[in-house]
């Protein structure tokens, strides 16, 4: 982003990578896949790089409003400094926080989730999505809470999957009644409370009932939780957990 500023230019969109997309080995693959799609569609985008910091979502959901607002205000200073107008992110948690909780603290941007952005590229004819290797495969989509229930976006990821000509089979609990993967509310960073099973196992079992080739996700944390669930069930040979962006990139052989 600093380079754009130096050249006096504004990118079409700022890609907010997020902590998982930057550091987590599995999620970095999603980042790279999404970037390939952006390049392929000739989108003029920038990232904040080392100037990006945690949005504060896990702090806020943990109850640490102080830390959240410190993170938020620092990020807003940076974003406003670069006069950022539009932000795309592959993480529903970053998406929700910047979209809904930053405006009250002085950060007003147009924020879209990467599935929404890809959908708009598709509609504008800048991105081509074709079946490729996923054509006719049985796929189920796991709704991220912070994209679905929290922000009412159920269709964008499904529209993209349909373009891949997959056989989309819904789980019993889907869309507004979708079951959480177990990572939200900062659960990702702690051990679960005692219970008879883990949430990600419960959800993975539900997904496996469908016997899908791929469990499609749209959140790096859901991705981790479902991947762990599939491994725990010894199904990793048969079932892949993939982000929608990764699936499109693979189908296009990028």
């Amino acid at each position: 982003m600093a380079e754009y500023l130096a050249e006096g230019k504004q990118p079409e969109v700022l890609f907010w990578v997020g902590c998982a997309g930057s550091f987590d080995d599995r999620a970095k693959k999603i980042t790279k896949a999404f970037v390939k799609l952006l390049n392929n569609a000739k989108v003029d985008f920038a990232v904040l790089g080392t100037e990006e910091s945690c949005t504060g979502d896990p702090a806020k959901r943990s109850g640490n409003e102080f830390l959240f607002q410190m993170q938020a205000m620092t990020n807003i200073e940076v974003l406003n400094g670069y006069e950022v107008k539009k932000i795309v992110t592959a993480c529903p948690h970053c998406f929700n926080t910047i979209k809904n909780e930053y405006p009250g603290l002085g950060g007003n941007y147009e924020v879209v989730h990467h599935t929404q952005f890809l959908k708009s590229l598709l509609d504008e004819g800048r991105l081509k999505v074709e079946g490729g290797k996923f054509k006719g495969k049985k796929i189920t989509f796991h709704d991220p809470c912070y994209l679905g229930r929290a922000n009412g976006e159920y269709e964008a990821p499904r529209d993209l999957l349909e373009k891949l000509e997959v056989e989309l089979v819904e789980m019993k609990r889907c869309k507004s009644r979708g079951l959480c993967c177990g990572a939200g509310g900062a659960q990702m960073f702690k051990e679960p409370e005692p219970g008879h099973t883990d949430v990600n196992i419960e959800r993975t079992e539900e997904a496996l009932e469908i016997k899908p080739a791929v469990i499609a996700a749209a959140c790096p944390f859901c991705n981790t939780m479902m991947t762990d669930g599939v491994k725990a069930k010894n199904e990793e040979e048969n079932v892949a957990v993939m982000d929608v962006a990764e699936m499109i990139a693979q189908a296009e052989d990028l």
Partner: protein, 451 residues
Amino acid sequence: MQYLPNILFLLALVAGIWFFTKNIRKIIRNIKLGRAVDASDHKAERWGNVFRIALGQSKMVVRPLAGLLHIIVYIGFVIINIEVLEIIIDGIFGTHRIFSFMGPVYDALIFSFEILAFLVLVSVILFWTRRNIQKIRRFWAREMTGWPKNDANYILYFEMVLMVLFLTMNAADVALQQGVASGQFTSDAASHYIQAGAFPISGQLAPLFEGLSAETLILIERTAWWFHIIGILIFLNYLYWSKHLHILLAFPNVYFGRVVPKGQFQNLDAVTKEVQLMMDPNADPFAAPAETEEEAEPAKFGASDVMDLNQIQLLNAYTCTECGRCTSECPANLTGKKLSPRKIMMDTRDRLEEVGKNIEKNGTFQPDGKQLLDDYILREELWACTTCNACVEACPVSINPLSIIMDMRQYLVMEQSAAPNELNVAMTNIENNGAPWPYNQMDRMNWKNEA
């Protein structure tokens, strides 16, 4: 002496309404113990929600069978209230079926009341079966023992008895009307029972009364009539102790329900001020507060007791009818954790009632060594929440258990520094290196150079 029934009726009616008003005032007083909250925004959307969600029952039908049965009982409740209006007028003025002058309209009304009363009776019996025979899981959770369990059944018994009384009253009336019409009953008292109404259900029951004298029939009709209206007045006053309050509070509660995206959690203004001050390079950290400034008590962060919650959250607690749809969708509860969003609401109401009683006894609230946190809601419950909003989505009357969980987490973290250790580690990481994991901030772009 001939006015004695009228006077007795009026006394019962006034007493019933007086007690009810008294209890409603208690509820309002208790709700006002919470923090004031501005809900003057989104008026159109709020009214839309009232029409769609509350009046239209849109969220009830997410579960089709329970939804259908509930709609029957709901419509029955609303429509049969027209009949109650007639009963009240008759009771005060000693008339009989005062609305019968409406002729065919009256017949149609009574016809619909009868059908509804019967359907309500059937629905309520099915509800009872679901609860007690079928033992649907959400009705048999940890928090559904003792009073909550009995309360639910009492409500169903109340409704069964009221409907049976209503139909009995009508059946005796039909028998009397028939007797008068056929010239069998000629007494003054019997001729009171004019030809009015259409009775598709109780008409079937009338033959049961065949051969009874006019006096016996009048006794049956009057007894049923009196028990029915007295029952309604008792039921009205029972509401205060019952989860059944939702029949009234669901409407305001839906109006005050959330109108922003579910993912948008409120930003604490008190914290914003502090953080702004902290980030202001011109602020003098050692500056003494201005002399003229009022010594305001520093705001408490989050909630440890009901007084720290806001008024909408407390209204939520009184509105909750303990149906358990929230709990049956909660990922934590489904996987055997202690958290149950329904219990959060029930605990809040129980504690609020306790605080209310304390105020009645002492004039003002006297510390009783108890609070909502720990004495009612356990930390283990609070930390099990994934903030997935399934409970908020599931609630048919727009209750938000998640907001209470979040407020209590805020108290634990910001007032007590009592987060689970792993979360403290994650938060320290965010503070130090801008990510919940201990990675170097300078490695953020590494993905760019990896294949």
